[in-house]
């Protein structure tokens, strides 16, 4: 298919749209359950065998998993360390800052969800949501003991719901202010969490992963665009440098770049000038991410038809204007799926900071199972961390699919 970027093959399944509640009359009668089973599971002898075999496997492993989760596992390592998993060694009396950030973000996310994501209430959707809600509440009941935390979580959910409703009501008029709010959100959050009696050294847990991911994404996006433009430049010196830089960064593992940042980077700076470890790690991570962003943007720019450039020239637009007003918007639009995929990878790669002993989520999960009272429960310590990573990455990928539909990507 023309126009499909190779990156699409890796990340985007075709967008799935649930059928709306009001249906057009179907062209043939729906299958009865017996017919459905026969058609989908036992259509041939081979298929039948396959169904039985995989069904048995699923039941076996599913049973083992359920038994592990609910019966034989001892989740006390997670329960006791819940706060450390979430925010690391952040001082307890300063946790109000974290809650303030959570409330702010809940409202913002709710508003964005209301404005951007279309309503999709199908019966299947409702059932799914109900089941998820029940499971979450059940898990939280088991894990969270303090009534204060319950209250704060309830407030968060309420703020999100209010945000969604308000967003749906106010519609697309809110887009510009939302954009400004999101742009301001990151510096505001960072300030709130580092000014006063706390410092960035005390960040930890999932909070650290999220902050690093957002910082890297925010910083590498413009840098990547610059690199992509540089790569396409007609000045050979500039384009060779950009190509060399991009290929160098893409050819080495992120871990080596982070180790470089830890031990060699300060040697390259004037003596006496040092940056905090976290800043150095974010710097190297940003370089890494910007090389990939550059490649994605380059692919997008290649997809802009030549005619657009010619038309811009005919209109008398300068190179800068052409790029900024004509080429980039089109390029960026078509790169949204692989770009979001890359951002999800950035979030997942923040787990590498554990290899450098930053106390982010994976590191705290490992250390918490090494305390003498919890030794031997490595699985129970790691699974919640894995689950937290998974939930966020999966939600982001689902959300991106729906945003794609809403923004009409790929439709022209």
């Amino acid at each position: 298919m023309s126009g499909r970027l190779p990156g699409d093959l890796e990340r985007t399944p075709l967008p799935v749209v649930d059928e709306p509640v009001v249906q057009v009359a179907p062209t043939r009668p729906p299958l009865t359950s017996g017919e459905w089973v026969r058609r989908n599971l036992f259509s041939s002898g081979f298929n039948g065998v396959l169904t039985v075999a995989s069904g048995a496997l699923v039941l076996f492993f599913g049973f083992q998993l359920v038994r592990f989760v609910f019966v034989s596992a001892d989740w006390s390592v997670f329960q006791a360390n819940l706060r450390v998993y979430m925010v690391g060694r952040f001082p307890e009396d300063q946790l109000w800052r974290v809650w303030a950030v959570v409330f702010f973000l809940a409202t913002l996310v709710g508003l964005s969800h209301g404005v951007l994501v279309p309503r999709h209430l199908t019966r299947r959707g409702l059932v799914l949501r109900a089941v998820l809600a029940v499971l979450t509440v059940g898990a939280l009941v088991y894990l969270v003991r303090s009534p204060l935390v319950w209250l704060l979580m309830a407030v968060t959910v309420a703020l999100f719901a209010v945000g969604v409703v308000a967003g749906r009501r106010l519609g697309r008029r809110l887009l510009r202010s939302l954009l400004v709010a999101w742009l301001l959100a990151f510096p505001v959050v960072v300030l709130l969490l580092s000014v006063g009696d706390v410092s960035a050294d005390q960040w930890g847990g999932l909070m650290l992963n999220v902050i690093v991911a957002v910082a890297v994404i925010a910083l590498s996006f413009p840098l990547g665009i610059l690199l992509a433009l540089g790569r396409r430049s007609s000045l050979p010196a500039v384009s060779w440098f950009c190509v060399g830089f991009i290929e160098l960064i893409r050819g080495v593992p992120l871990l080596t770049l982070l180790i470089f940042g830890r031990f060699v980077l300060i040697l390259l700076m004037p003596p006496g000038l040092t940056f905090a470890q976290l800043v150095r790690a974010i710097f190297m991570f940003t370089l890494f991410s910007s090389a990939y962003v550059a490649e994605i943007v380059r692919g997008g720019l290649q997809g802009v038809p030549e005619g657009q450039y010619e038309a811009a020239k005919a209109l008398g637009l300068s190179t800068t204007r052409t790029m900024a007003l004509v080429a980039m918007p089109q390029a960026l639009r078509s790169t949204i799926p692989p770009m979001i995929g890359h951002f999800i990878s950035v979030f997942k790669d923040t787990s590498l900071l554990a290899a450098l002993s930053f106390s982010e989520l994976l590191f705290t999960a490992r250390r918490s199972s090494q305390a003498f009272e919890f030794v031997g429960h490595q699985a129970e310590a790691l699974l919640p961390a894995a689950f937290l990573f998974w939930v966020i990455a999966f939600s982001m990928s689902r959300w991106s699919q729906r945003v794609e539909v809403r923004l009409g990507v790929g439709e022209r």
């Binding site: 298919m1 499909r4 190779p6 990156g7 699409d8 093959l9 890796e10 990340r11 399944p13 989908n40 599971l41 259509s43 298929n47 396959l50 169904t51 995989s54 699923v58 000045l235 050979p236 010196a237 500039v238 440098f241 160098l248 893409r250 050819g251 080495v252 593992p253 871990l255 080596t256 180790i259 470089f260 031990f263 060699v264 300060i266 040697l267 390259l268 700076m269 004037p270 003596p271 999800i344 997942k348 790669d349 787990s351 590498l352 554990a354 290899a355 994976l362 490992r366 199972s369 490595q378 699985a379 790691l382 699974l383 961390a385 894995a386 990573f389 998974w390 990455a393 999966f394 990928s397």
Partner: protein
């Protein structure tokens, strides 16, 4: 007469050609300044620590043991130790690439199966594995699965040929004895025989139009020559069956638990991405191809094998290349579980010899070289495949 536009040149400050050259000169100058600053600072910093920027330290005695890999002892040089790390990386990367591709192919086809259950299983696998960080998966496999295997005394065994425990896996392997050289020659002859038979059967197929099974005949010829050679050179291969000793395995092909955990993590993780690539590339094959194949009377399996997959794999090669590179780069995470590959060994060398700058340059250079090699192979494959299929 109006100004002669053909010979008039714009003034220097508006002359695009001059400005381009000037711009590049300025850019290069800026880069040179920054690079020089950095290098001078580096020299200074390194000398402050009584170190140097040369690679001579690589000849010094290493003094540390490496628990698996090619033959090495602590009295060899740092360079030897580094080589062990490189070989270990290649070991896990090559095997990982092969296994991940197989897994990805199987699951990719499963993803598009007509069987609802199989489809859903593949989908769940992809959605779960793709969205979890690879480091989390590798560590999970190591601490929660491999270490939880039975101890060496109670190792699980499969027909006494394969043993699995938390000290690693041992598989029955073969041992070469005298006459192996002669048998090697027979193997080459067998390969040639197989190729000849393949060509002969292809020609028969084209001439007579009757389906002539090529591959089974070629494989048969190969095996026959191999068996004859085996018998003639005096059975130069004996079985190397592992045994469970007190502290570990004796004999057989042994693989450490760290290697197993790393391999499992990498293969399963990369396999999920390859699954999506295979699925996307199969879906990219025009529907008409499949319909035409069906119209020709091919069975679904034949359709897949003869029509869809060859075309699909053509499209899949560039994204597969990037996934293979990702697998290679993700092998560096072995640092977290103690498998002595490049980054892990280099970390130890840095701690013993303190030359972080040189070691990191060496490590990055090695990865770049390996990445380029993999990309070169894949690009050659790409060229070979697209040449055939161009319309």
């Amino acid at each position: 007469m109006a100004t002669d536009f053909t010979t008039a040149r714009p003034p220097l400050w508006r002359n695009v050609r001059f400005l381009r050259i000037l711009g590049q000169a300025v850019f290069v100058l800026l880069l040179a300044i920054v690079a020089r600053e950095a290098f001078l600072n580096l020299e200074y910093g390194v000398r402050e620590q009584n170190l140097d920027l040369s690679f001579d330290f690589l000849q010094q005695r290493a003094g540390f043991a490496i628990k698996e890999g090619i033959a090495y002892n602590p009295n060899e040089s740092f360079y030897s130790a580094f080589r062990v790390g490189v070989v270990n990386t290649i070991r896990v990367a090559l095997v990982g690439i092969v296994l991940a591709t197989i897994l990805g192919l199987v699951m990719g086809v499963a993803r598009l199966s007509t069987n609802w259950l199989v489809r859903r299983i593949a989908q769940v696998y992809v959605e779960i594995v793709r969205n979890t960080p690879v480091l989390v998966q590798i560590i999970f496999w190591y601490v929660a699965v491999i270490l939880a295997l039975p101890v060496i005394g109670g190792a699980l065994s499969l027909w006494s040929l394969v043993f699995v425990s938390n000290r690693g896996t041992a598989v029955a392997w073969f041992r070469l004895e005298d006459g192996a050289g002669a048998w090697g020659l027979f193997l080459l002859a067998a390969l040639a025989a197989g190729a000849l038979v393949l060509r002969w059967r292809t020609r028969v197929d084209e001439r007579t139009g009757r389906p002539a099974p090529r591959v089974p005949w070629a494989v048969g010829a190969f095996l026959v020559v191999v068996a004859v050679g085996f018998w003639v050179s005096g059975t130069p291969v004996s079985a190397d069956v592992p045994e469970v000793g007190r502290f570990g395995y004796e004999g057989g092909l042994q693989v450490s638990p760290e290697y197993t955990a790393l391999l499992l993590g990498l293969v399963i993780y990369t396999g999920s991405f390859i699954t999506e690539i295979v699925r996307g590339s199969i879906q990219a094959v025009p529907k008409g191809q499949k319909e035409a194949a069906e119209a020709l009377g091919l069975s679904p399996r034949q359709q897949l094998r003869l029509v869809v997959l060859p075309q699909a794999l053509r499209v899949a090669i560039p994204p597969l290349n990037s996934q293979y590179l990702n697998l290679l780069k993700n092998s560096s995470l072995a640092l977290a579980i103690g498998y002595p590959e490049i980054v892990s060994v280099s970390n130890t060398i840095i701690n013993q010899a303190a030359r972080a700058t040189q070691m990191l340059l060496l490590v990055m250079g090695t990865y770049l070289l390996m990445s380029l090699s993999i990309s070169a192979v894949m690009n050659a494959l790409n060229r070979a495949v697209t040449r055939k299929g161009q319309r």
